[in-house]
Symmetry: C2
Subunit: 513 residues, 2 copies
C-alpha cells in the first residue's frame, strides 16, 4: 500500500491532506504515469477514513488532471498530467526557511470542499448547485444604457470617494421602492452595503463578541454559518420542520425556539421567513406574529434575511417581520443579487437609526463605502422602473421552474423520497430514502453530468446525510426534467440492488472518476 | 447656567453628549429662539471639559441650523431652526419600550468626530482634509467607454455571480501591470479585494485574535487604527521622525522598532514605506533592507501599504518591500483608488500562496466577491494602457501641487512652524509652533473657509496637538496658495497677540460659530 498518513486532528481537511500526499508522491516520482492507485473503498479502509474522503480527493485530483479512471479497470496516474505545469514560484516569493504563515492564522478555518468538488463541471452539465437568477433574463442592454447615462450625467461624482452610508440617488430610489412595498423606512433607517453577506459581516462586528450565542435555523444558509464561525459565535440551530401531513406544520419549530431561548443567553437570531434557504419554506403570518412576540418577550433581536421574498410563485406575498415589527427589534437585510444581478455587489440594511449609525461606523473601517458605479447604475435602473419589471419576469420564470422541478420529482423519484413544497424562491429540499448519502449520490451523479448541493453543508448541527438542495432557478425546464430523471435513475438502480441483497448504497464501479 | 451634565465614562463622545442635551433643551422649550447660550470658554469651565469639546458641539449645532453666532454679541438659538423638521419616526419603527440596542453593541466604538466637523463645509471652501486624486483629471469619458465595451462584450458574465479571488480578466491585467513594474507575481499570489481598507480588514480576520499586538507607524493612517481597534488588537506605535537637520534621519525609527519587537510578542507590522500617510515621508533603500532584516530576525510579517508608491514627485521610484523581500514575509496591499478612481472599490493583495488562499476563504464569508462591473471596467482600462497614462498625469499634477504647497508654506508660515519634505504622495505634515492646538486652529480656519485634518486623528498614542496634515492633491495651485496664506494669517495674528502678553492661543471672539 502507498506511504500515506493522514492526521485527523489537523485543521487541514482529510481529503486535502490525501490530495497533497498523492500529488507529492507523483512529483517525487514514487507514482508514475500509468501506475494504478487503489480503489477508493480499499484505500478508505486502509486509512481508516470514510469512503467519501477518498472519493473527494480522487475527484479533486481528477479535476487537476493528475489521475484518470477507466471503467472496469481502475484509476491510474495520467500521462501529460496538467499538474506537472505547477512550477516553483520565482525566487522573490519563495519561502526561504522564513515564516510559517499557517502558525500565524487566527483560526482553523476549513476550505470550501463543496466548491472544489463542483468547480470543474463541464459546461454541458446540469448544475442544481447555485440559486441565482436565470441567466437568460439578465437585462444586459438595459444595464449598459443605465451605466452610460449615469457616467455621462454624474461621472465625476461616481468616480470620486463617496459616503459610507451610500450613494444618495440610490438611497432615494431604494426608499421609494421600499415604501411602494409597504415598508415605511426613512433616510435614518437605511444603510447601503455590498450585499447580504457583507450586511451579516457588519452585524457580526457590531454586535458579537467571541462566545456570544446566535440562533439560526437548522439547516440554514452556509454563508451565515461561515461568518458567525469566523466571529467565534456559538451557533445554536433550531430545527426547520420539513414533514407534511396531519399534525405537522412545516417551517421553523417555534417550541424548540422558545426552549433554546430559555436555556441560553442569546444575543441575536438570524432567520429567513420567506422561502428559507435551503428548504424553500415560508412562515405563515400567524407564525411571524408568534415569532415576534417570542423575540420581544426574550428581548432578542431578529436579523431577517429578506433576499428571496419577492420571488413568490404561489399565493400572496406576506408581510415581512420588519413590517410587522412593533417593538423595533428587527434588522432586515436585503439585496439586488437574487432578483437581478449577483455580480453587482449592492445590498442594504433597514434597521432602527441607532443600529444603522453603528453599522455605518463599522462599515467605514471595513471598506469605506460600497462601489459607486454599481450603486449609480442600480439607482438609475430602479428609478426608471426597470427593476420592478425585471423582478416580475424573474418571479414568473422561477415559478415555472419550481413547477417543473416538482413535476419531475413526482415522475422520477422512488417512492421513499420526500421533498418540501415551497411557494416560491429558488430552491427545493429533498430527503433521500433512509440510508442513502447525498455525498455519494453526488459522486455518481457528477459522472453523469449532474451536480447539486448535499444537505450537510447547510447544517449548523446534526447534519442529515440523506438530504440535498436543488437550486432550480438557473436551469431551463428541460434541463430540470433531465437532471431530476438522472438522479431518479441512479437512486432506483441502487434501490433495486439493495432489494437484491446489497446492504449499503455503493457505486458499482471500482474506480471513482 | 444651563442644566447640563456630561458623563466622562460614557462611550458617547463628550461633544455628542453636549449636542444631544442642548438639542433636547430646545425641543423641551427650555431654550427658545433668540436665547443667548454661554460662550464656549465659559461653558467649558463650568462643565470641566476642554474648550474644544464645546467648540465641536457648537460647530455641530450650527451646521444643523440650531444655533447662530453674531460677531461681538455671542451665540444664539436660531429662528426657523432647521432641526425642528426632525419629526418622530413612524410607528412601525418607533421603540416601544423594547430593546436597548446600545447595550447589545460589541464595543464602545467612537464616532468619527472629524467627519462631523468638516462635513458641512461650503462648496466655495478650501479643503486640505482628504488625499484623493485631482477631480479634473478623472477620465470619465474613457471610463464610460470601457464600461460600454465590457458590458457589450461580456455583460452576462459580469452581472452573474463571480469568483471570490477576482474577475479573471482583471487578474490577468493586474499581473501584467505588476510584472511591468518589476514585481514577479503570479496567479497564486494575487487576491482582488474592495480596496486597501478591505484588505486590512481581511488580514485582521485571518491573523488577529483579541489582544494580539500589532506595530504601526506613529502617526499612521486612521483607517488602520480603526480596523485594528475593531479587531481588539493591541496597537503599538513606533515613532516616525519628522526632524531634519544634522544627525536626524526622517522616517520610521528603526531603533525604536527593534526595541518594540524585543519587548513584545508582535503578530504583524503595518507600514507605509512610500509617501507615508500622513507625513509623506519615504524610507530609503538602505532603511528598507534594514527593516526586512529586522522583520526576518524577529519572524514578524510586514503588511506593506503600497497605495501611494506610484506618485513620485522627485527622484526615483524605490523598490517596494515586496520586491526586496527574500524571506517571504511581506504582504503587499494596493489599490486603484489613489491613482485613479476612489469611487470604484477595487484593490488587491500580493502575498505568499498560502496567505492568499486563507484570505480568499475569509473574503468569501465577508462579501462573496468584489463588484464585477468595476472589476471588468478596470481590467479594460488597464489593458488598453489607459491606466499607465492616467497615473502619469496624476503623478505630474500632484508633483506640481506638492511644489505649490511647499512654496506657500515657506511664504506664509511663521518662522516657528516646521513641515516635512515629501518626495511625492498626496499630503504634507505640519508642526505648529509649540503651544498651538491644531483643533483650535481648525475652528478658526473653518470660519475663514479653510479646513484640514488635525494631527491627533493620526496618532496611535501620544498625540501631538500642534500637528496637522495638509492633503494637497485635490486642490488647484491658487487654492493651495490662498488656503495656506489663510492659515498663516491666523497663526501670525495669534503669535503677535501672544507677544503682546496673552498666554495661550485663544480665538478673539466670544461666540464660536
Amino acid at each position: 500500500m502507498l506511504p500515506l498518513q493522514l492526521q485527523a486532528e489537523s485543521h487541514i481537511p482529510l481529503y486535502v491532506q490525501l490530495c497533497d500526499q498523492l500529488r507529492a508522491l507523483v512529483h517525487a516520482g514514487e507514482l508514475r504515469v500509468g501506475d494504478r492507485i487503489p480503489a477508493s473503498r480499499e484505500l478508505a479502509q486502509h486509512l481508516g477514513v470514510h469512503r467519501t474522503t477518498v472519493a473527494n480527493a480522487y475527484a479533486e485530483l481528477e479535476s487537476e488532471g493528475l489521475i484518470e479512471g477507466h471503467v472496469g479497470r481502475g484509476t491510474f496516474i495520467r500521462a501529460n498530467s496538467r499538474s506537472l505545469q505547477i512550477a516553483p514560484p520565482p525566487p522573490s516569493l519563495v519561502p526561504g526557511g522564513a515564516i510559517r504563515w499557517e502558525s500565524l492564522f487566527a483560526d482553523d478555518r476549513g476550505d470550501d470542499a463543496l466548491d472544489r468538488l463542483i468547480r470543474t463541471m463541464p459546461a454541458s452539465g446540469i448544475s442544481f448547485v447555485v440559486a441565482h437568477p436565470p441567466e437568460e433574463l439578465l437585462p444586459v442592454a438595459e444595464m449598459r444604457n443605465c451605466c452610460n447615462t449615469v457616467l455621462h450625467r454624474e461621472g465625476a461624482r461616481i468616480l470620486q470617494l463617496g459616503a459610507t452610508d451610500g450613494y444618495p440617488p440610490l438611497r432615494k430610489a431604494l426608499l421609494e421602492l421600499l415604501r411602494g412595498e409597504g415598508l415605511q423606512a426613512r433616510e435614518e433607517h437605511l444603510l447601503i452595503t455590498d450585499g447580504c453577506q457583507q450586511s451579516l459581516d457588519l452585524i457580526c462586528k457590531a454586535f458579537l463578541r467571541p462566545g456570544d450565542a446566535v440562533i439560526l435555523e437548522n439547516p440554514t444558509y452556509p454563508g451565515a454559518i461561515a461568518v458567525l464561525a469566523a466571529a467565534r459565535a456559538r451557533c445554536l440551530g433550531v430545527p426547520v420542520r420539513t414533514e407534511t401531513g396531519p399534525g405537522a406544520t412545516p417551517g421553523l419549530d417555534l417550541e424548540a425556539l422558545e426552549q433554546t431561548l430559555a436555556a441560553n443567553r442569546v444575543k441575536l437570531m438570524f432567520l429567513m421567513p420567506d422561502f428559507h434557504n435551503p428548504t424553500g419554506l415560508s412562515m405563515t403570518l400567524a407564525a411571524r406574529r408568534k415569532l415576534l412576540e417570542i423575540a420581544s418577550r426574550h428581548q432578542v433581536p431578529i436579523i431577517e434575511d429578506h433576499i428571496y421574498a419577492r420571488l413568490v410563485a404561489r399565493g400572496d406575498r406576506l408581510a415581512s417581520l420588519k413590517q410587522l415589527d412593533r417593538t423595533n427589534l428587527v434588522v432586515q437585510i436585503d439585496s439586488f443579487s437574487k432578483m437581478a444581478f449577483p455580480g453587482l455587489r449592492v445590498g442594504w440594511v433597514v434597521a432602527p437609526p441607532n443600529v444603522i449609525e453603528r453599522l455605518r461606523v463599522v462599515k467605514q473601517s471595513t471598506d469605506l463605502h460600497t462601489d459607486q458605479l454599481s450603486q449609480a447604475a442600480m439607482a438609475e435602473f430602479t428609478r426608471r422602473g426597470l427593476l420592478v419589471r425585471h423582478v416580475e419576469r424573474v418571479r414568473k420564470l422561477c415559478a415555472a421552474r419550481l413547477a417543473a422541478v416538482e413535476d419531475a420529482l413526482v415522475r422520477h423519484m422512488p417512492s421513499e423520497t420526500r421533498w418540501t413544497h415551497p411557494n416560491g424562491g429558488m430552491s427545493i429540499w429533498v430527503e433521500l430514502p433512509p440510508g442513502f448519502d447525498a455525498n455519494e449520490l453526488l459522486v455518481r451523479a457528477r459522472e453523469c453530468g449532474v451536480v447539486f448541493a448535499p444537505g450537510r453543508y447547510f447544517y449548523v448541527q446534526s447534519p442529515q446525510p440523506n438530504t440535498l438542495r436543488l437550486g432550480f432557478s438557473g436551469l431551463a425546464e428541460r434541463q430540470i426534467a433531465r437532471g431530476v430523471a438522472t438522479l431518479g435513475d441512479i437512486l432506483r438502480s441502487e434501490l433495486s440492488k439493495r432489494q437484491r441483497g446489497a446492504r449499503r448504497f455503493e457505486p458499482s464501479r471500482v474506480a471513482l472518476v
